[in-house]
């Protein structure tokens, strides 16, 4: 146990590497317990799996038969998340249609019995019990479902914006004293006496600034990057291996259904279409991935695989307008043998003392739904090592913005906002929307709309830069969903880039470069989803860039 004198010489009690849901979760938990925390993220908060998930904190009925503990933990913690961040959650009712065919009666009966079991966990997350439906019920609920149906079941899940969840955790950690650095990569794990990890060196990938921090404990919460991170300290650990699984989602320009619909893909895997925020999302694939983790993009065949699966149950999906994709890499617990779907979604904390690296811990696995519990378990380990006895309070203290619920209509009226803009702003920020609107009161010009698809006002962009560590147009998009609508940022990226550059004291030219970087990334994420209408939009977007920005931000002499 380090004594108080030596503690003063350290920069922090705990250094967290990784700004995903595990990293920000641990940072928040530790900061709330009074520990001094420093968090380093190589890209941006929620850049990896956390910001590219299905956006659900579902109870994981899929794991019920072989991993019921995962289901229990997910449901319990889903309930906690609802009470600390009510603004970030929205109900997603699910429909599982069963097609008529050989054994379909038995299948429906089995499904009904299965969800009877799942219903036991539903109260933990304020979920409604499932309902057994006949074919007519299913069609009445979602007329777009076709085919001969035996019937189906409906059950209840919750959706969430994973990036907002991570940002909320980071903001809370920061407000409890944590240092948060994004776009700041750890270049080395510093080893001390007897091989113990005593700190890190870092480099800011935007400014180039370098530095070091020393702490008693270093937590590696870098998801799919985990083995790359341990290697920075020369720790070759078998225990910290992950099985990287790429997951792809395709999204559409609007909500096509009120229910999420489960379907079987051509290989028998379970996939789904879900109404998510103001759009519809198809997910997901699961394939081993050994490509560049900083640059993971969906491919055309992954998109076709998903659309084909959903088309069988919901044919009009084919004529709906897909406007983009997102892809992330799951850090599942390493196992040789099972196919990707059969891998455990459980989590574990690896103590690298066994590898001769005292003071270093890696968080392996985890799910959005049980992130808080995993962070609590990990922070317990850290606290115990530091000899601190405070218990976690993350399940009772509200996340920033989650302290109370505001009425969107009253809020819209009081702030002269469009009701739609008000409800979107409240969804993302909860009561912190008041802070955003305070900016408009001080500077009315910040009430201007930057992105009309979502919509996003200028004050929110500035707030994301000021208070949420956004340093690029991509970062703002991750926090506000600016530029992710049908126009793909064609109308707002340049304006957003100018604001970000100005606020971070960079040149207008740099602002244009940020806009181009976003638009090029958007093009790459959208191209695999491109269909007849979208192709035209992409060509227009390029034309717009060329007309106004040129294809190099430097512009003409």
């Amino acid at each position: 146990m380090p004594d108080e004198v030596s503690r003063d010489r350290l920069d922090a009690d705990v250094i967290v590497i990784g700004g995903g849901v595990n990293g920000t979760g641990v940072a928040r938990d530790a900061a709330l317990r009074g520990l001094r925390v420093a968090l380093f993220e190589r890209n941006d908060i929620a850049f990896g799996a956390s910001g590219n998930s299905s956006g659900m904190i579902h109870g994981g009925p899929r794991y019920l038969t072989y991993d019921p503990d995962v289901t229990y933990k997910s449901c319990l913690d889903s309930g906690h998340i609802q009470s600390i961040a009510p603004h970030l959650l929205f109900r997603i009712p699910f429909l599982m249609p069963v097609r008529k065919g050989f054994g379909s009666k038995v299948e429906l009966f089995g499904l009904d019995a299965f969800f009877d079991l799942y219903d036991r966990y539903q109260p933990l997350k304020r979920g409604k019990p499932h309902v057994l439906l006949d074919a007519d019920d299913v069609r009445r609920l979602e007329p777009g479902i076709t085919g001969e149906l035996e019937g189906g079941v409906s059950f209840d899940e919750w959706g969430i914006d994973g990036a907002r969840l991570c940002v909320a955790n980071a903001v809370d950690a920061h407000e409890h004293g944590a240092e948060i650095r994004t776009h700041c990569t750890v270049t080395e794990l510093v080893r001390g006496e007897g091989g113990a990890v005593t700190g890190i060196r870092f480099q800011d990938r935007i400014s180039g600034e370098t530095g070091a921090r020393h702490a008693s404990v270093v937590v590696n919460a870098t998801g799919a990057w985990t083995p790359l991170t341990t290697a920075l300290g020369g720790v070759a650990s078998r225990a910290a291996r992950v099985r990287p699984g790429k997951g792809v989602h395709v999204y559409f320009d609007r909500r096509l259904t009120n229910y999420a619909i489960g379907c079987r893909a051509i290989d028998g895997r379970q996939v789904f279409m879900e109404p998510w925020q103001n759009m519809t999302v198809l997910g997901t694939t699961d394939d081993d991935y050994y490509g560049d983790l900083d640059d993971c993009v969906a491919t055309t065949d992954e998109v076709r695989y998903l659309v084909q699966a959903v088309e069988r149950v919901f044919p009009s999906i084919r004529h709906a307008r897909s406007i983009g994709t997102w892809a992330g890499v799951r850090p599942t617990v390493y196992e040789w043998g099972p196919n990707e779907d059969a891998l455990s979604r459980d989590d574990r904390v690896v103590d690298h003392a066994a590898d001769g690296a005292n003071g270093l811990y890696s968080l392996i696995g985890g799910k959005l739904a049980s992130y808080r519990l995993f962070a609590e378990e990990a922070t317990d380990v850290v606290a115990e090592r530091l000899g601190r006895s405070q218990k976690s309070t993350t399940h009772t203290s509200p996340l920033p913005g989650g302290d109370k619920e505001l009425d969107p209509l009253l809020f819209a009226k009081a702030n002269h906002l469009e009701p739609m803009a008000a409800s979107r702003l409240l969804y993302r920020h909860g009561t912190r929307a008041l802070v955003v609107m305070e900016r408009v009161r001080k500077t009315p010009a910040e009430g201007a709309t930057v992105c009309s698809c979502e919509p996003v006002i200028e004050a929110e962009v500035r707030y994301a830069v000021d208070s949420e560590w956004a340093r690029s147009v991509d970062d703002v998009a991750r926090r506000t969903r600016l530029g992710l609508g049908a126009c793909g940022g064609m109308r707002c990226a340049a304006r957003c880039g100018a604001i970000v550059a100005e606020m971070t004291e960079r040149s207008p030219e740099e602002g244009r470069r940020l806009a181009l970087e976003f638009l090029d990334g958007a093009r790459r994420r959208r191209a695999p989803a491109v269909g007849p209408v979208q192709a035209r939009q992409e060509a227009l977007a390029l034309a717009s860039i060329r007309a106004s920005l040129g294809t190099t931000a430097a512009g003409p002499r």
Partner: protein, 409 residues
């Protein structure tokens, strides 16, 4: 020669105008706007950010630019400010855009007024820091101007803001607001607000006694609307017959062509045309469509040998080949569609009708024009030039001697 020009963008307008100058009997057929109506107002004959060429324009292209009221193409190149703060060279411009080439070393005021998407301060910083402004010591300052727009108008689109100033009283109000401002600059740079009809910037400049003009338009801004207005005036002026309808297909009857559109069926005594100029635009303009996946209807058609199925197809059913950089893009090799992601940056912009000269490949009597045909995306002047070339070729092929000249009004 009886000629049909399909498409009402820059290429089609230039083709119709050039054909009328050669005394052809011209019918222009188009419905809705394409890429020209979405252009920025800057006129180029090469992609400006790839290779700016300050070349001399041939006399016919210059004559076309003069005939089109909205345009201003001089003997030397212009310099315009984009709405994202780039000072860029252009071969010519929409007359309402402020030409900064003539204002080297001047003090230019940017009107700071509250409108969504308009930030005069950041525009001034960006333009002032451009190499040209530094070199020529041209200054840009954001100058507060109040009262230009009513509070309810600040979220309107640039087109709607511009249309307000077609009303002379609103233009007078704008002039008054600028006059009331605290400074007396050499010139005023404004957003794309000076009218959906041509001539707004001239009126304002005259009222204030100093150059006033706009930045470039974003897609859907007023520059495109001004092009449309001056096209309609030009075509009426030179006696081009108009058919406002959406063309569905071009059918051959002997050596003549019939154009079937949304306006009604063909009749037995429809005489048809000697030649067709397709100026329908590329993917961005809607003249070329990407097919999504093999659908049942296609399979039936392919089996019956009706269409040659390809990944890209013209929006007008016509015997033409779609390609990219001189090579045919014939068909998708995946039954679930075409992999656009694999095409590379900018390729989508260059997909066009393949031609040998101006003749559509594999189809005698059908000609094609446009920026994608010229393989020079977003080059308005190159598109106009390709229209003029197509008109010449069509008339030559139609046998100029047979033409019964109709006097130009």
């Amino acid at each position: 020669v009886k000629l049909a020009v399909i498409g009402g963008g820059v290429a089609g307008t230039a083709a119709a105008w050039a054909a009328r100058r050669a005394f052809a009997d011209v019918t222009a057929i188009f419905d809705r706007a394409g890429a020209s109506a979405l252009y920025s107002g800057a006129l180029d004959d090469a992609p400006w950010d790839e290779a700016f060429a300050d070349t001399a324009l041939d006399s016919e292209l210059l004559a076309f630019s003069v005939a089109l009221e909205a345009w201003s193409v001089g003997t030397r190149s212009a310099r315009v400010a984009t709405h994202d703060g780039v000072l860029r060279p252009a071969r010519g411009r929409d007359s309402s855009l402020l030409d900064l080439a003539a204002l080297s070393g001047a003090r230019v005021a940017i009107a700071a007024t509250r409108v969504d998407g308009w930030d005069a301060g950041s525009l001034a910083r960006s333009l002032s820091s451009s190499p040209w402004a530094v070199r020529t010591r041209t200054r840009f300052d954001a100058v507060p101007v109040s009262g230009v727009f009513d509070p309810g108008e600040v979220s309107a689109s640039p087109y709607d803001l511009a249309a307000l100033h077609d009303e002379p009283s609103r233009m007078a109000r704008l002039a008054e607001c600028l006059r009331q401002s605290s400074v007396a600059p050499d010139a005023w740079l404004l957003g794309p607000w000076l009218g959906a009809a041509p001539g707004g910037a001239d009126a304002l400049s005259t009222a204030l006694g100093k150059p006033c003009g706009e930045t470039t338009s974003p897609p859907g801004g007023p520059a495109g609307a001004r092009f449309d207005a001056s096209r309609d005036a030009l075509l009426a002026n030179v006696g081009v017959q108009l058919r406002h309808e959406r063309v569905r297909s071009i059918e051959t009857r002997g050596r003549r062509f019939l154009v079937a559109g949304s306006g009604g069926g063909l009749t037995a005594n429809d005489a048809g045309f000697d030649a067709i100029i397709l100026a329908i635009g590329g993917v961005a303009g809607g003249g070329i469509q990407l097919r999504d996946a093999l659908d049942d209807e296609d399979a039936v058609a392919v089996a019956a040998g009706i269409v040659q199925h390809g990944a890209f197809r013209p929006s007008v059913r016509a015997p033409v080949v779609i390609g990219l950089s001189g090579r045919a893009l014939e068909r998708a090799s995946s039954e679930r569609g075409f992999d656009v992601a694999a095409m590379g940056i900018g390729a989508l912009e260059r997909v066009g009708i393949l031609t040998d000269g101006a003749v559509a490949r594999g189809a005698s009597g059908v000609f094609a024009a446009g920026d994608s045909v010229a393989d020079l995306p977003r080059t308005t002047l190159a598109a106009a030039r390709s229209g003029i070339v197509a008109a010449r070729a069509a008339i030559a092929a139609g046998g100029g001697a047979e033409a019964r000249p109709r006097a130009l009004p």
